[in-house]
Amino acid sequence: MDFGILLYVLSLLTVGGIYAIFALGLNVQWGFAGLFNVGIVGFAAVGAYTYALLTTAGSTYHLGGFGFPLPFGMLVAMITAAIVAGLIGLICIRLRSDYLAIATIGIAEIIKLIFKNETEITNGPRGINKIPRFWEHFSEERFYSSWPLSWFGTPEAWDAFFNSLPNWWWQPFFASTVLLIMYVIYRMLERARIAPWGRMMTAIRENEPAARASGKNVTARRIEAFVIGAAIMGLAGALFAQHLRLIEPTNTFDPAKVTFLVWVMLILGGSGNNRGAMLGAFLIWTIWSASELIITGAIDLLIDIFDGVDMGSLRTRAGFLRMMLIGLLLQVILQKFPRGILPEVRPASPKGIK
C-alpha cells in the first residue's frame, strides 16, 4: 500500500515536472515578454515527434526511426521547435495580442494537421509507439547490447540483470531526470531575468513606445523570447513523448490538456515568476490527478449503490466535468487573484540606471 503511494508520488513528480517545464517556457513568452501564445500544444507536438522519429528503432510504419542517442533526440527536439517558432515569430510577432493568439492557435492546429496527414513520415493518426524513455530504455536489447552498456557486460548478463529488477526500477531515475532538467532551466531563466536582457523585456512589456524610443529593438527581443520559450516547450514535448511512449496527433496533443492546463498553471502560480510557474504546475497537476481518483471513487460508490445502472458513460463524462471545473478555476483566479500565488518580483535595478 505505502509502496503504491510512493509510485503515485513519483508519477506526480514526473508529469508535474514536465508540465513545470512547459510552464517555464510559457513564462518566458508571456510572463517576460507579454506574448499571448495559445499554441503551446503545437510546439509540444513538434518536440515530441522530432524526438520520437530520431530515437525510435527502425520502423516500417513511419520515417526512421533512426535510433539516435536519447540526449541527441532531445536537443534536436528543442532546436526544431525553436526554428518553427522563429519562422512564426518573423511573421506574427508584430501582431496585436488578440491576433497573435488567433495565429498561434491556428499554427498549432496546422502542425497537428501535418502530423496527421503526412502518414509516410508520422504514421498519421495511428501514431508512433515504443518511444524510448530515459533509463528504462537501457533494458531494451538494442541499448544494452551496444555501447556503453556492452562495455560493462554481455547482453545475456544485462538481460538477466534487468529481469532481476522490479518493473518500476526506472521510475525514480526518470522522475529525477525530469526534475533535474526543470531545475537547470529554472536556474538559467532566473539568470536571464535578472540580467539586462530580462530587465529589457520588462521595460518593453510595461511601456513599448518608451522602449522603442530609447532605441531598443523590440521586435528582435520579442522573437528571442518567443523562440527561447518554444525551445523549452519542445524539450518538454520530448519528455512528454518519453512519458507516454505512444504519441498520436489528436488525443495526445489535445489543446485542452496541454495548452489550456499550462496556462492555468502559469496564471495560478504567478505570471512573470519562474517559481510561481513551477508551483502552479505541480499544484494543478496534483489537483487534476487527485480529482480523477476522487471522482472515480465516487462513481464506483454510485455503481455500488445503484446496482445495475449504466455508469460507464458517467465515468467518461467525469473527465469533462473536471476540465470544466479547471476552467472555472481559471476564471476565479483571473478575477480575484490576477497576480497568482507568487506574484512577479521585479529585479532590482543596478545603481545609476533607472
Binding site: V38, L95, A101, E109, A256, F260, Q331
Partner: protein, 316 residues
Amino acid sequence: MWNSFGFEFINFYFIPGLVLGCIYALGAIGITLTFSILRFANFAHGETMMTGAYLTWTVMAICSGVLGFAVHPLVAAVPATLLVVLLFLVTDRYFYKPFRQADTIKVVMASFGMMLIIRSAVQVIWGPNQLTFVPGIAKPNAYLKDWSGSIDFLLLIPNKHLFIFVGTIAFMMALSYLLNKTRIGKAMRAVSDSPDLAHVTGINVDQVIRATWIVGGACAMAAGVFLAMDIQMLETTMGFRMLLPMFAAAILGGIGKPYGAVLGGLVIGLAEELSAYPWIGDGPLLSPGYKTGVAFAIMVVMLIVRPQGLFKGRSF
C-alpha cells in the same frame, strides 16, 4: 461542356463551398461585431454555435419523443436561440464584464477559458460521442432537378442547402435593416467607431453591448444549426473546427465590417472546397486532409499583406 466540366464543378465543389461559406459568414458576423464593439477576439464563439446546435437537437428530441410530433430543425432552433442568447448574456455579465476597463488580453483569456468551460459542459451533458442530427440521405430537390435538367443545367441541391441559402440571405437582410435603420443598430456602429466618443455622447454602451451579444448570438445560433443540418450530425468539436475559418473570414473582411465578414466567409468556404478540385491533373489540388489549413493560410497572408482586411476595417 456542362456535362463534362461544369456539372461536376458546380454541384460537387461550388455549391458545397457556398454552403460552407454561408455558415462561416454567419459565424463571422458575431466575431466581427464582438471584436469591434467589445474589442476582443472571442474564442468561445464557436462553442456557442455548437451549444446552439445541441440545444436545437434537444428541442427536436423532446418534441418527437415526449410530445409525439417531429419538428423541423429551423423551428426547434427558435426556442434554442433564446437559450443561446441567454448563455451569451450570462457569460458576458459574469466573465467578461469584470474586465471591461482592464487590459484586453484579460478578457481574451477569459473567453479562452469559456471556450473550454462551455465545451466541457456540453460533453458532460450530452456526452462526447457523435449524435445524429437528421437521419437519412438528403435527396436533391426534385423540382429544381427537373427544371434545371430540362434546360440542360442540371443542379442537384438538397433542400437542406436551399434552406441554408435562403436563411443566410434572410439573416443578412435583417442585419442590414438593423444596423442601418434602427436606433440600436446605429448605436452599435457608433460604439464600433469610437467607444469613448459613444460614452461621452450619452449612448448607453451597456445596452449596445447587450444588443451585440443578442445579434451575435442569433447569428451564431443560425450558423450552428445550419452546420448541423449540413453535416447531419453533432460533434462537440464542431465549434472549435469552425473557429479558425470564422476568425479568418472576419479578418479577411475587415474587423468591424459585417458585410466584409460575410464576403470573407464566402471566400473562405469556397476556397476550402475548391482547393480540393483537380485544377491541375487528375488528383485534387490540395489533399482534402489539408482543407482546414486553407482558411489559416488565407488569414496569415492577409495579416501580413493587408491587416485592415479587404474592407478597410479597424486594424490594431
